[in-house]
């Protein structure tokens, strides 16, 4: 008995000692201070590229501000200023999900998807909040890797992977008689046949869009001699065969494609790139599509978002009129394209010395093999000077890498398989809340740990991180939160 108590005491003592050591290095958390590291930026007014701030070329600033405003518009089904929402959707506003630390970012701390019933965006009599949407959790989209059969078992012979929109417009006053059920999330959860994605931030996206393929291939070749077990590849556009680069699996070629897909898939708004209302994957598979009562709910015909041939605006500014002509998708893409990249902090958190040491460690242990700190230069730009011949400090090689069993989501997109993901750009990381493709954690230490699993290209690098002293690990964490 006495020995047993002694063992307990020793056990607890060791646990405290080692817990203390573990706490020696911690994620400093969301970096305080200027939003995106930019003086003058606010949550609702992120800054444009430098040349756009100077309105070079003339009118570009107007287009940026017009796109920013549309990015924050609240969409409705019908009878409003911004029609076309649904019949299925994940939220009614781009900036509802792309919100942290400012418009254009990623999941905010307070999840608007959790509030859709309370805020009257969906009817509580026809919709429930899925269990994986929580008040302070990440904003998410859901996908079922495989179609479920009638008994609720996943049919691994029928890959799905499409977005299962969380909510329906059914029961809304502006949705007429459209009656739709939500996807059967509880059944999918029971079968472990559901994965999640969080929004990717779009700061600096125009620079990534303007990288030439040859530059990316050169970066890939330069990394070929690494001693870390890393060898990635690229996803390609099915249309022209060039390197695609946006989205968690680099499945989208351009910002316009990215915007068009999101408008259609996340908000249910048909547009010039995706001109039909989108049924669920199951409705397509069963050959039914959307019921007639849920089509053309806006009453405008298709697509719901179009070029504005004859805009009616009161401004006498010709550029304001010009900026109002393009469709929402074009305006969204222009906003993202002209949005400035985040500026890293030189001294927060932890001071300039630790951040500098952390950066050196980031390179030394192999993080930089995939999270390429700087890609040398973009191609010349016909949009605005800041996009041309500029370094891209995205901390990404834009390649897709095998991330192993621990992160695999079993969704294939383009050439990317179930465990392949684009190297997530790390610029702006310091002010992000939720990490990894599904927002599973808010802790950077967990993120680093989750890079290692069977089948992952990053296991060796994670081992190298483990080999660092606690002080070195803290320096590296401080560096990451400085971005």
């Amino acid at each position: 008995m006495r020995t047993s108590r002694l063992s307990w005491a020793i056990g607890f003592f060791l646990a405290f000692v080692f817990a203390g050591m573990a706490l020696a290095q911690t994620d400093p958390g969301v970096r305080p201070g200027a939003i995106n590291g930019q003086a003058g930026a606010t949550q609702t007014s992120p800054l444009p590229l430098v040349s756009v701030s100077g309105d070079n070329p003339a009118g570009s600033l107007e287009f940026f501000e017009n796109g920013l405003a549309r990015f924050q518009e609240v969409e409705v089904v019908a009878n409003g200023a911004n029609n076309g929402l649904g019949p299925r959707f994940n939220l009614n506003q781009c900036s509802g999900c792309h919100a942290q630390p400012s418009v254009g970012g990623s999941s905010p701390a307070s999840n608007l998807q959790f509030q859709v019933i309370a805020n009257g965006i969906v009817s509580g009599s026809t919709n429930t909040i899925p269990s994986f949407i929580t008040a302070n959790g990440p904003t998410r989209e859901a996908r079922f890797p495989f179609f479920l059969n009638a008994s609720g078992s996943p049919n691994t012979g029928a890959p799905n992977g499409g977005v299962e929109d969380l909510f329906t417009v059914s029961g809304r006053a502006d949705a007429g008689s459209c009656s739709l059920e939500q996807p059967n999330f509880s059944m999918a959860e029971e079968a472990n046949d559901i994965i999640f994605r969080v929004p990717t931030p779009v700061f600096g996206a125009g620079l990534i869009e303007n990288l030439d393929d040859s530059t990316l291939i050169a970066v890939q070749n330069a990394a070929a001699g690494n001693s870390f077990g890393i060898s990635g590849t690229f996803n390609h556009s099915g249309n022209d065969g060039t390197i695609s680069r946006f989205g968690w699996k680099a499945q989208n070629k351009s910002l316009e494609m990215f915007a068009g897909e999101a408008y259609n898939v996340e908000m249910g708004i048909s547009n010039e790139i995706f001109p039909q209302d989108r049924p669920l994957p199951e409705e397509d598979q069963q050959g039914s599509g959307l019921p007639a009562s849920c089509l053309n709910l806006s009453g405008t015909g298709y697509p719901e978002d179009t070029t504005n041939f004859a805009p009616t605006i009161s401004s006498s500014d010709p550029f304001a009129r010009n900026a109002s002509i393009p469709s929402d998708v074009v305006a969204f893409a222009m906003f993202m394209r002209l949005l400035a990249p985040p500026v890293p902090s030189p001294n927060t958190p932890g001071g300039s010395g630790p951040i500098a040491r952390g950066r050196a460690l980031f390179n030394a242990i192999g993080c930089a093999t995939c999270h390429t700190p700087t890609i040398s230069s973009t191609q010349p730009s016909n949009f605005t000077p800041s996009l041309g011949k500029s370094p891209v400090n995205a901390f990404s090689d834009i390649e897709i890498h095998h991330m192993g069993k621990g992160l695999a989501d079993n969704v294939s997109q383009g050439g990317a398989g179930g465990d392949q993901f684009r190297t997530a750009p790390l610029w702006g990381l310091g002010q992000r809340i939720f990490f990894l493709h599904d927002g599973r954690t808010t802790n950077l230490l967990t993120v680093i740990e989750d890079h290692a699993s069977s089948g992952s290209e990053a296991s060796q690098v994670e081992e190298n991180f483990d080999a660092l002293s606690p002080e070195q690990q803290q320096d590296l964490l401080n560096f990451l939160r400085s971005l």
């Binding site: 060791l14 059967n184 077990g229 030394a364």
Partner: protein, 362 residues
């Protein structure tokens, strides 16, 4: 509401074990209690949520099958082979503390207490293999810590182009980034009676040291990469490499098959050597490189195909086409030999590599 007092999951918290403390200190009991409580809670939750969102549970239906957790079910471009008998580079495994790779004809006894925690990714479309990732099982503070990465680069496909392992290692050394400091330029050493090239470098920032030892086998650079803060540990591990079994061909410049393995020749299936040839027809536009290693038998017919990285439809198209190929039999001293070569189908990832300057026939 079911409240779980979750045991600490902090990765830095060592879990006291019987061996570490001499006897159990109760943690397993706590875990047992936790798991039991978790089970009860989950079953209650499952019952509470039994009614599905559309229709509810139907009595007497078969139990729902669950997808396994942490499994890669949907694969992209993946390795494959025309048969399951012929060894392939990624086919090595650790058994009873020995890493054995039949394709490369090597066996390496792991240091006692070391094992592979995570297997590597599939071969890349540039011909890079992670063969094994080995580390001490006990990684708590104070343990002599290090890792061994056993990898291979296919000299038929690897960027940048290189004639042999020595040249590839020299390129690596020349391109070493400024974050590292060279501690020993590439130079030839003898390991287990075979020729290796050794390259040492370190990171002053990370206080880590890399020891890379490589040789060439079957036209691959096979490399052993030791990483540690502890250079004495690394030296002892390198010393242990002398117990390794290697094929007689292993050499920094001359590892081109032979013996029990086919002779390997870059670009053999090209030009006048090809007597009959049918191009594969890809039905999907995928834009990925598809590196393929082929063994031709003594009559010049395809004996084995190894797809390093291919989608299933690409594998089938290539296999259908290659089955109709015939090449000039490779002769050495007038005797026909099996020959292994590589062809890059699909989209080549980079600039074309120069042909191995070696007579195709004698």
């Amino acid at each position: 509401m079911c409240h779980l007092d979750l045991p600490g999951r902090d990765r830095k918290l060592p879990r006291p074990s019987v061996s570490a403390l001499g006897r159990s200190v109760g943690i397993p009991t706590r875990w047992f209690r936790f798991l039991a409580l978790l089970g009860v809670c989950l079953s209650l939750l499952a019952r509470a949520q039994g009614g599905s969102q559309s229709g509810g549970t139907i009595p007497d239906t078969p139990p729902v099958k669950k997808l396994p957790t942490e499994a890669i079910l949907v694969k992209g471009a993946w390795p494959g082979a025309s048969d399951s008998v012929t060894p392939v580079p990624e086919g090595g495994s650790i058994l009873h503390g020995v890493y054995v790779n039949q394709y490369f004809g090597l066996s390496y006894r792991l240091t006692p207490g070391w094992s592979e925690k995570y297997s590597g990714p599939p071969p890349s479309d540039s011909g890079y293999y992670v063969l094994a990732q080995i580390r001490p099982e006990n990684t708590s503070q104070g343990t002599r810590r290090g890792t061994l990465l056993i990898a291979a680069k296919d000299l038929f496909f690897a960027p940048p182009p290189a004639e042999n392992a020595l040249e590839l290692m020299n390129q690596t050394a020349r391109n070493l980034e400024a974050d590292y400091r060279v501690e020993r330029l590439p130079s030839e050493v003898r390991i287990s009676g075979r020729s290796f090239v050794r390259f040492d470098y370190g990171s002053p920032a990370a206080e880590l040291h890399w020891r890379v030892l490589a040789t060439e086998i079957r036209c691959h650079m096979v490399e052993f990469v030791f990483t540690s803060r502890d250079t004495e540990l690394e030296e002892s591990l390198i010393e242990q490499m002398n117990q390794m079994t290697l094929p007689s061909e292993a050499d920094v410049t001359l590892g081109t098959g032979g013996g029990d393995a086919p002779v390997c020749i870059k670009g053999y299936a090209s030009g006048e050597n090809v007597l009959e040839e049918v191009d594969p027809v890809f039905t999907e536009r995928r834009f990925n490189p598809v590196p393929v290693r082929i063994i031709f038998d003594k009559q010049g017919k395809v004996k084995h195909i190894h797809f390093l990285s291919a989608f299933p439809d690409q594998e089938k198209a290539i296999a259908d086409a290659l089955s109709q190929w015939r090449v000039r039999p490779y002769l050495r001293d007038g005797r026909p030999l099996e020959v292994e070569t590589g062809i890059m189908f699909g989209r080549a990832p980079g600039p074309m590599t120069p042909m191995r300057t070696k007579p195709a026939t004698q």
